[in-house]
């Protein structure tokens, strides 16, 4: 029995620790834990409900738009204007969120995940015409290789030519993700932490010059996604085809759907570009009932009273609690651990028969000689991200062209004395929900259930492990000194830890002891 601790897990957002026990080369036990706590749900109490969309963006600098969106949907709901958002406001919200998706997916593949698969050292001695490779070769010749070394060694499988192409695209992708943020800023005002999305619509207005600038950036991004991102994902998938067979986890997927195509009329929208669904490995799709979302806390450092529905739950610490090992709660849908993320959205659309998704998924599977079952894997998550990036980027052209300069972007609203609101949407990395209670015109309670809590949360009341824990269990680790498999599996979820930790009130020094044990 060997214990392997990865702390910190780098190339993710936030602070994550994973601990596995390996016996005879196979993972027998796995625990995932967040290692930063701030206290947003406590800090939000007593504030103006409109401030929540500004404050909750600071939960996460990688996916702030998802929080602005969920928070504003919740406030729209509480203020009674959810069905009154003008088309311009609805579309601009989608364009801002869509831009953030593209930025997030490109960043995830090239800058966070690819260093596990692509050998940057292949650029050493490069003397050709590629500007990006020339920069990297010059960097390597300088002899100071941080932050690209040190790293795990021994399982880089691409050919030299493949590595060179991928490293060149790594450099181009830095520019592309930056451009996605510049595109977002045309309507968002600034990024990270945009300022446009607020109750009733958006503050900005569309004009033809802004639409043209947006379309210019989008054109460059679409070209990059089609010519580089999708082919590079296929290249990696072919060289690491065994990763289509590991990391499946719970194989039970949830999406709330995202990108409202009509004014929202219910908790999950009237018509979303990606539709809500609960999906299993046989590609059956069920309806989503928000009332079936609960959080368990048996293995989390929370008072047992904090379990239950996020509509009414609370955040009270219990740092001395026996057996607990995580500050994340354990979300469950209908009592079961459930994975969220791009794979859920893509399969939801695939089952719907959405033509552009179906064509891309089928073409990808055909190219790899795989069946849909192979999508429930490390590679499936990575491929789903690239596929939806292309489909979203293409659709954003139509959305931008549907803007109507001169027409309203926001409706007036007033804070109610008392109300409840729910905002359910999907972040780039999966289903995100904000629940809000207003009393005396101020926030009385605020709860978030976010993608990485779903995916990286701990065991539940029945000691059933969470999705990432299950994805690690049973994995063969070839080299205990270079456990590539663990990082690759965990990063395929695109974890965002800052989002996921529920924060608590300090109760004294005992907390330290329980975190480090």
């Amino acid at each position: 029995m060997t214990k392997i601790v990865l702390d910190p897990v780098s190339r993710i957002e936030g602070h994550l620790r994973i601990e596995v026990t390996v016996d005879d080369g196979v993972v027998k036990d796995a625990r995932t834990a967040g290692t930063l706590f701030r206290g947003f749900e406590i800090i939000l109490q007593g504030r103006d409900p409109r401030d929540a969309s500004r404050m909750t963006q600071r939960v996460c600098g990688v996916c702030p738009i998802a929080h602005a969106t969920a928070s504003t949907l919740a406030v729209d709901d509480a203020y009674g204007v959810a069905d009154a958002i003008p088309d311009n406001g609805r579309i601009i919200r989608n364009l801002i969120l869509g831009s953030n998706y593209l930025q997030s997916h490109i960043l995830h593949f090239y800058h966070l995940a690819a260093p596990d698969y692509v050998d940057v050292a292949a650029a050493a001695g490069y003397s050709g015409p590629d500007a990006g490779l020339t920069k990297v070769a010059g960097f390597i010749a300088g002899g100071e290789l941080a932050p690209f070394l040190p790293r795990y060694e021994g399982d880089y499988r691409l050919t030299k030519e493949q590595n060179l192409a991928a490293v060149s695209h790594y450099v181009t992708a830095l520019e592309m993700r930056r451009k996605a943020h510049e595109m977002l800023t045309i309507f968002g005002g600034r990024m990270p932490h945009e300022v446009a999305i607020m109750v009733g619509g958006v503050t900005c207005t569309p004009t033809d010059d802004k639409i043209a600038a947006f379309l210019g950036y989008l054109s460059d991004l679409r070209t990059f996604i089609t010519d580089c991102y999708l082919p590079d994902v296929l290249m990696v998938a072919k060289a690491y085809s065994d990763y289509a067979e590991i990391g499946a986890g719970v194989s039970r997927l949830l999406t709330y759907g995202v990108f409202d195509q009509k004014p929202k009329t219910g908790p999950l929208g009237a018509q979303r570009f990606f539709t809500p669904g609960l999906i299993d490995t046989d590609l059956n799709k069920g309806a989503v009932d928000p009332a079936k979302i609960t959080e368990a806390v048996k293995n989390s450092w929370f008072d047992d009273a904090c379990a239950g529905s996020p509509v009414t739950s609370s955040t009270k610490p219990s740092p001395a609690k026996d057996g607990a090992y995580s500050w994340l709660k354990a979300p469950r849908y209908d009592g079961h651990p459930t994975e969220v993320g791009p794979l859920a959205r893509v399969l939801s659309a695939y089952i719907d028969g959405k033509p552009e998704i179906k064509a891309l998924v089928d073409a990808t599977l055909s190219e790899l000689g795989a069946t849909p079952a192979a999508l429930f894997s490390v590679l499936g998550r990575i491929a789903a991200r690239a596929i939806e990036a292309k489909v979203i980027a293409d659709a954003m052209v139509d959305w931008a062209l549907a803007l109507k300069p001169g027409e309203p972007c926001i409706v007036e609203s007033a804070v109610p004395d008392e109300a409840r609101g729910a905002g359910l949407s999907d972040a780039a990395r999966g289903a995100v929900g904000h629940w809000l209670t207003v009393k005396d015109k101020k926030i009385a309670n605020y709860q978030l259930v976010v993608p990485t809590t779903w995916n990286l949360g701990p065991r539940d009341d029945n000691d059933v492990p969470g999705p990432a824990e299950q994805a690690l269990l049973g994995t063969k680790v070839k080299d205990l000194d270079n456990p590539f498999e663990l990082g690759r599996i965990v990063r395929s979820f695109d974890p965002c830890l800052a989002c996921s930790v529920h924060v608590v009130t300090p109760k004294g020094d005992e907390i330290a002891r329980h975190i480090v044990t």
Partner: protein, 285 residues
């Protein structure tokens, strides 16, 4: 060969928005900063930076310890330092079975640093984690170092997020001319060149002077009545703008949130409520 300037970037109570913002720099961009000589003859060697570094777990922590074995590195701190619960609210990583708190790492690393850059409002002034009721005892890097009696040059680069040009500009300035003279920083540790008063440079100042005020968010006109904190906030946003000069909040009909100030967010909120009566502002220009 270029002179290598070792740097270590640690993350505490942060959303990672600071590092994402730094990735958004245009000129210099992130490749100029990481891959090339930011200033001819000098290369910043970023030995530890969790969001981008290849190494994970012990490999990463070994890189951190190797980098900090000798003094004289640049220490970049993103996020506030949580001193509640003996620092247990934030961990940097584990070495030899011992998990190290972020607070203890900042204390250890700062003692041997050439200078400390507090990047972002959380590191500079506490920021959102320190907002009422400050559940985790979050504090600024400056207050933390003062409490530990560690005397090391400190430069605050606030902003939620900080503008990438402010960060790369400070680094380049250090490479070209050494650490800033005391009079280059304002009384709360910000480089004066990046932090002029927003209200003096705002394109909507003529509306303010003429009394043409937006009545609700989304309206044209001066945003004072809908909560703009520009009259009391120091930052070069109206001049520099954001994301390649594309836009900035006021141009987007959104009030300035005052995110570069020590009072952010508590003294700056409710965000959509005017800060004070005009007479109380005591504007001096």
């Amino acid at each position: 060969m270029a002179q290598e300037i070792p740097a270590v970037w640690v993350q505490g109570a942060t959303c990672s928005g600071c590092v994402v913002s730094v990735l958004n720099g245009v000129s210099p961009d992130i490749t100029h900063l990481l891959l090339q000589q930011l200033v001819p003859g000098k290369h910043v060697s970023l030995r530890f930076m969790p969001t981008v570094m290849a190494g994970t777990g012990e490999v990463a922590m070994r890189a951190l310890d190797d980098a900090s074995a000798e003094s004289g590195y640049l220490l970049i701190v993103e996020g506030s330092v949580q001193v509640g619960a003996d620092g247990a609210y934030c961990m940097t990583g584990e070495v030899d079975g011992h998990e190290r708190s972020f607070a203890s790492e900042v204390e250890r690393l700062a003692r041997k640093a050439m200078a400390v850059i507090a990047l972002g409002t959380c590191a500079s002034y506490g920021g959102i984690p320190a907002a009422d009721p400050n559940p985790t005892g979050a504090t600024s890097v400056g207050e933390f170092l003062a409490d530990k009696k560690i005397a090391v040059p400190l430069i605050n680069i606030p902003g939620c997020p900080p503008h990438p040009d402010r960060f790369t500009g400070v680094i380049a300035s250090i490479l070209m001319r050494g650490l800033p003279e005391a009079d280059a920083l304002d009384d709360i540790g910000r480089p004066k060149c990046f932090y002029p008063l927003i209200h003096e440079n705002c394109e909507r100042r003529p509306f303010f002077d003429a009394g043409k005020f937006a009545q609700k968010p989304g309206d044209d006109g001066c945003l004072y009545l809908v909560g703009c904190k520009g009259p009391v906030t120091y930052a070069d946003c109206p001049i520099r703008k954001w994301n390649g000069g594309r836009n900035w909040p006021v141009e987007n009909n959104s009030p300035c949130l005052g995110c570069t100030e020590p009072g952010f967010p508590d003294a700056m909120s409710p965000f959509y409520t005017k800060i004070s009566d005009l007479d109380d502002l005591k504007l001096t220009f």
